[in-house]
Amino acid sequence: MLSLPALKEDITVSVVAGAQLTAAERRPLEPVGRHFLQHATRTLRNHTWSEFEKIQAAENVQAVDGAGAADPDELLFDTELADETLLEHDARDWKTADLYAAMGLSQLRYRATDVQIVKAHRKQVVKYHPDKQSAAGAAENDAFFKIIQKAFETLTDRTKRMQYDSCDFVADVEPPVGKPGAAGYDFFEAWAPVFASEARFSKKQPVPELGDDSADQKTVEAFYGFWHRFDSWRTFEFLDEDVPDDSSNRDHKRYIERKNKAARDKKKTADNARLVKLVERAMNEDPRIRRFKEEAKKLKEQKKWDREAGARAEAAAKEAAEREAAEKAALEAEQAAAAKMDKKKLKEAAKAAKKKNKRALRNAGKDNEYFGDAAADHDAVDAQIALIVDTLSDDQLAETVAAVKQDAKQALQTAAKNAVDTKQLTAALVSYFI
């Protein structure tokens, strides 16, 4: 330890005049470590030493305060024993005791983390250790302490805790009673905790949440889809009857084992059935599902209407087209009839004209007094004219008739010559005109 020399002269402060530090040298520091970073902060912020010390002290106080503040875990523990009857519980029947309540974790239950269990156990031990109890003058009864120890043993072992959690019926949330709606309970408020509590048994995590009224159809369907395919790890080993030691009676032991297994399977089946029923009921009550169904129905109707609208339009169009076609057909028929009539008339007229022309031609000999040739055989001339007339086409007929009016003999001669030229008649037959 440093000791200072005694003061011999009366000095308060005597600085040696002109004294100076030996010239310093500029060197780089190594920019590593906490102390360097503190130096950097001081240099950059221009803190004086006293300021810096104040800041450091404030930080230290904060750190200490932070450490001293209540552990957030502890706030979740029970302040006093949740179930007073536990104190009188027989330690041999520890399986029937509420182990979470004994640990002071009745609020957290299956949600308690391993760290929280250790902390809670320590707290309970400090409070309920038999030595502590007897020192406080309480009756010598370490039953509750034994239960705490059993609880700790059970809850810190992964498998044992799973088995206990499976049969922790206190943590189960019963589904609501009655009917949802204005008079009954609010669907979401009542069912969300039920699903949250059931979700703890899911092998698949995370489990989708129930959500609220605004959830879309896909989410809701995914939610119920998950619960319909729910894969549960829940086991009922914890409720098994104690299997006796096989030294006395092996058959009895096996019998008990078989019985336990059967009971477990039965319980498991019942539990699965219960869950299926529960999900079914929730689904039936879910206002969202109802809404989606209604929406779907409406949509279907709308679609049907839409679909039929097309067919309707088509039918109307078809009808109109048919009507139009019929009208058109009628008109056409009428026109055709009219045209037919006209044609007939024309034909008849042409026929009549032809007849008239033929008659005029046949009578040409007589009319023209046989061309002034009295000597000619009248009947033979007429016969020859008749032969010529038969060879003439309609047009030639009309021409010939017109020509006959000019010069009958000449016209008939031309016609006869034509007929002979075209070899319709022989010259002998119309000898008169050749």
């Binding site: 040696v16 530090l21 060197r27 520091l29 920019p31 470590g33």
Partner: protein, 539 residues
Amino acid sequence: MSTPVIGIAFGNTSSSIAYINLKNDVDVIANPDGERAIPSVLSYVGEDEYHGGQALQQLVRNSKNTIINFRDFIGVPFSKCDVSRCEGGAPAVEIDGKVGFVISRGEGVEEKLTVDEVVSRHLNRLKLAAEDYVGQTIKDTVLTVPTDFTVEQKSALKAAASEVGLNIVQFINEPSSALLAHLEQFSINKDANVVVADFGGVRSDAAVIAIRSGVFTILATTHDYKLGGDRLDTELIEYFAKEFQKKTQTNPRKNARSLAKLRANAILTKKTLSNATTATISIDSLADGYDYHASINRMRYELTANKVFAQFSNFIESAIEKAGLDKLDIDAVLLAGGVSFTPKLTSILEAFLPESVEIFGPQNKNASNNPNELNASGAALQARLVADYDEDELKEALQPVVINTMHLQKAIGLLNADGEFVPVFLPQTSYPIQKKLTIKQATGDLLIGVYEGESYIEEKTIEPPAKEEGEDDEDSEEWSDDEPEVVREKHYKTTAKLMELGVKAVEKGLEIVFNINREGQFRVSARDLKTGAVVKGQL
């Protein structure tokens, strides 16, 4: 930063990675093969890439495609590189003026890799190993580099790291990193001068570091690019080769594969000898079908490699000399790097340095640290510290204006009741600085005499025939009684009086504050702890 920042120590021979886990402990990360000191080796067989220990095994069968000792080549032109250290593996060739390697990947397929690419791949494998271990993607890292790495080398490293998505937040010097990691475990509360000696696989570095109020200043560094653990291997190989030759008339040194086999096994034997006093070496079909089995004890090994060990101690001595210090000015030697495991290294240093010097190494009972992991651990600690800073803040803190500070050249201290000089600020203390001295039992009227002082070495020769030896290198105690014992002691003497403060009627306790501000102004103030009366003096 949400993702953890890891520390990477990237060495020529091996690399390691570390991070600070949730429990605030340093975790040195093992790669999937369980190696914490991951060999910096990459090897290629056809399409496959091997890394670490698996790649190292390829050195025997597939040496032409196995890249070793590449770290120092990054960012250095080919002409300036000593590529002879790659002899055991893939030969280094020149590619675009840089060092590169030509690797065959399957039949007739050749791949040309520059050293930058090799470093990228190596860092990527380290990053993957860290991500595997931490379970989060890693983006930021603090990387350690030797003190003689140039700016170009650092920027080349940074570019290589960014190729694989690693952002190097800060480069820190290897010795500082090692010291930081050591002090985290075994803190030294007083100011000290420490030699950090890093004996690596192929090179050695030493730095003399002054710790002043927790801040490090490097006083001197030395590097030896030829000295390293492989020199010990070479000595052992030579020893075994000679013995083998004597037995079988076959020279195993002629055959590259025999040599590689011998080297791999010699390294194992060397490592065994660090823990046990005897070790065996057995190699099937070493050369010409002859097997080789032999055992060697530690003494034999130490004698064989005596020359190399002497170089190690000379190397440390040269570092101390370069810093302008005496061996007595050194408070401790911190050993890092794989060679530190060798017990002989510690014992030779203990013999050669005064007793006041502590040797921190794996063979020292006070230090349980792992010299292979020191650099990475220090980097991880620094990473944890800088993780709280954002980029700009860190950039500001690393400005030259912050880093380059003035350092005192002479000690400043007080005179005690016996008139002896007691240093408060040792030489090489950087300022601004403030130090508080509390003397609890001080009473009465007291004089505070503030002086500048310096140390000197006093040599006393005890025991008969006084034979002047000058600066004796050996601690004489080990030697026989006949020789004169030269005791060297370090003392301080005052060189200049600065000021005197008189405090009167101190009842109980006195607090003296020494302060030097940024401008170099020196102040001393003494405060009576009971009455609160203050006396101040200022230069």
